[in-house]
């Protein structure tokens, strides 16, 4: 039996904040028991378990589709065997911060689309910034959403900086995905390494479907009565996240429908059943705004339903998440979320943003231009790291070109301090090595705002990499929120 490496001696920090091992080499208290139990397993045991996970996910069809040449290939999302642990008191703060942030974002969206945009009138956010955001949908203005729960499901990405302080990296308010892996990872861990679980101390995540269903029912139109008909709308089996759509429908016990199953007549949405048309009250859609309604948005879309926007506007249907939420997760609008929290809630933000500089502000622009080689600059509308320039590693020519671009079109860029994601021990080829991680908790709005304990911890499995995306060598970890307060962190 070859024991695992001793984390107190053989483990490299390289100056980053590590979740499990403090800088002086001692194990943080909330990780002691886990690492001790892991240490009782041989490298062979863990290797076997790691091998089983993949086979199990494949057999269960827990896969995502990578778009290939002609036919999508189904892949599994690798799960690392060392769970991430969040102590109860840390979680209490995170949870409060997420509820606060989501409430402010809901209030902002409701204000913009159904409240006359008071936030702009009051000079909190520049009108130009809102109206020019790519995710702003004037077609959605005037559509009411019950309880104002426009971000019915929000995925708020958190990172921990060099001191271990949690910060919001970005908000995902359209169709945040990944929650199915949270639940499936937990199940796989419990089956493969049951000994790791500290008896009853890990908060369960399996009830996500029930939470989501009760949120969706809470936003049904009043006319739907006590048993609204809820469906999940998917683009279909070829969508990369199809497994998650199945998972959600199954966990809620509702129908998983495609655009071709739906029809709108007289501003009412119906699903085609074996007994004729049946009315739909709430649709949890996993289709982008652009494809939702060919009458209102892209006319070439075959994924959506003609007239679905008219059903929502007539108050006969609630679409979740609401149309036009993209205006609130725009990277430049992001910088104003702390101001929204102060404006709508009269509170100070519990979780801070990553410091962000807006380049159409002349003072900030001047400062950024003078420090371009120290900052990260991102285009506001791009996702997935496209167009991103990292100052410290960029060449002089790149920086000069960037400075030109910023001067020409400042609204198109934001600048941030260089991030340092925290690290976590991972089992890499039978040894413990540190890898960068982030966290995507899932926040549900409805009658009340709730947070699923933990969330999806994504890991950049490549050494030194900061990219946690599943398509680029990213993996995930089971995330444990502890039930009881452990000893104070050292």
């Amino acid at each position: 039996m070859e024991p695992l490496a001793d984390l107190t001696t053989d483990y490299e920090h390289e100056g980053f904040f590590d979740e499990a091992v403090a800088a002086d080499g001692h194990i943080r208290p909330h990780y002691e028991q886990l690492l001790q139990r892991l240490g009782q397993l041989s490298a062979g045991d863990l290797g076997r378990a790691a091998g089983q996970i993949d086979a199990q996910f494949l057999r269960q069809g827990i896969t995502f589709t990578v778009y290939g040449d002609d036919e999508g290939v189904e892949r599994t999302f690798p799960m690392d065997l060392v769970p991430r642990i969040i102590p109860a008191d840390d979680w209490a703060t995170i949870e409060a911060g997420l509820i606060q942030r989501t409430s402010a974002l809901n209030a902002f969206l409701d204000d913009i689309y159904a409240g006359g945009a008071q936030v702009i009138e009051d000079g909190i956010i520049p009108r130009r910034l809102v109206m020019s955001a790519e995710g702003y949908r004037p077609e959605a203005v005037g559509i009411e959403v019950p309880a104002g729960a426009r971000c019915l499901v929000a995925g708020i990405d958190l990172i921990r900086d060099i001191d271990g302080t949690y910060r919001v990296l970005e908000d995902n308010l359209r169709s945040p995905s990944g929650v199915s892996y949270v639940v499936e990872n937990r199940q796989a861990m419990a089956r493969l390494l049951p000994n790791l679980f500290r008896d009853g101390l890990v908060r369960p995540v399996a009830n996500y479907g029930d939470l989501l269903l009760s949120s969706l029912r809470a936003v049904a139109p009043v006319a739907a009565g006590h048993s609204p008909n809820v469906v999940v709308l998917t683009p279909g089996v070829f969508n990369s996240a199809y497994f998650e759509h199945v998972f959600l429908a199954t966990q809620m016990g509702v129908d998983l429908v495609e655009g071709r199953d739906l029809v709108v007549e007289d501003h009412v949405l119906y699903v085609r059943t074996t007994g004729g048309l049946r009315r739909v009250d709430v649709v949890y859609r996993r289709i982008d705004d652009d494809f939702l309604d060919p009458v209102v948005f892209r006319p070439d879309s075959t994924l959506g339903v003609a007239g679905i926007m008219s059903a929502a506007r007539a108050g006969n249907l609630t679409i979740a998440n609401s149309v036009g939420n993209g205006v609130a997760d725009d990277k430049a609008v992001y910088a104003y979320v702390p101001a929204m929290i102060r404006y709508y809630l009269g509170q100070d933000p519990i979780i801070a943003n990553v410091d962000t500089y807006l380049l159409d502000d002349p003072d900030q622009r001047a400062m950024v231009l003078s420090r371009l080689d120290e900052l990260v600059v991102k285009p506001v509308a791009e996702a997935g790291g496209y167009g991103l320039v990292i100052g410290p590693t960029a060449t002089d020519e790149e920086l000069a070109a960037l400075a030109d671009n910023i001067t020409t079109d400042p609204r198109n860029y934001i600048a941030q301090e260089v991030l340092s994601l925290s690290r976590h021990p991972c089992l890499i080829d039978g040894a413990m090595e540190a890898r960068h991680i982030d966290l995507r908790p899932f926040v549900l709005s409805g009658a009340e705002t709730k947070v699923l304990p933990g969330g999806l911890t994504r890991v950049a499995l490549r050494k030194g990499s900061l990219v946690v995306n599943s398509s680029q060598g990213g993996g995930s970890k089971d995330t444990w929120v502890l039930n009881e307060t452990t000893e104070a962190e050292g």
Partner: protein, 321 residues
Amino acid sequence: MVMLARSAEDLYWVGRYLERSEQMARTIDVIYHRLLESPEAEREEIWGDALATIGFPVSVIDEIGLDNDALANYCLTGATDGSALDAVNRLRSNSRGNREHLPLELWEEINRFWLEFRVNGSNATHPGEWCSLVRRRCQSIVGTADATWLRSDAWTYFTVGRLVERALLTTKMLAVRHHHHTEAKIHEWTMTLRCCTALQAHRREFAGFNDSRSIIALLMFSEIAPRSVHFCVGHLEEAVEQLGAPPDARSRRVIGRLAANLRFGDAFELGEEDIDPLFDEVEHEIRRFAASLAAEFFLLPLENGLRSLRLGAADSLGRST
């Protein structure tokens, strides 16, 4: 109870593809092993029959050549359209598109079958191994479904699909094979029966091979042989009532009439000239039932209108996607 029309249709096809995979594997297995101990002269005729029963044109023999392994592999995996692998692919993709209706254990069983057939199947040393893999897996899928699936409409559509496919395949088998059942060729009788897993049942129900109509009695009229047409049709009659079709719905009238004919029919009263028309009639009625089912449960009235405009009198179902 109602359910999503697309899912109902997909699950109906899950049942049909499942039954088709199993029946193809069994037929090819029987034929492949029979040919190992048959004179070469019989080969062409046997393959011709086999291809006809599982739905390939006889011209495949000209393309592939009269080689046992090559033909068996063509039917199992080679043909892009209509092979057992094609049926398994469709079985799996229809299941994947309706996972929320399937018990988790059942979905995993179907997915495991698909993974094995695609991956491990290529390691098979001879077609017989493929065939036993397919048969074993199909049976375990059926067993898992039976033990875990809520008896809701989803289950009923799946069952209807299996029964329709099985009734069609048995009818086809009899129609193609019946004229081989002569007194001099008892091995032809046993081959037909083995393709329908009915040899043992035949031995118990009828003493010896005296009158070839005993095969028709067992595979067409028996109330208790699970692959007999009467057995399938009787259960279809119950199923369609359970699905809530009104008594005057075409699906119920078609299947009820056929069930009555089979219930009160007697194979030993059939004259030689009655036999082929009987098979044609039965096949035609089952297809008419399937088309009625689609019109009543899977399509909207508007689409039925369009469909009849385009197709004239609808008489058969297209392949599901």
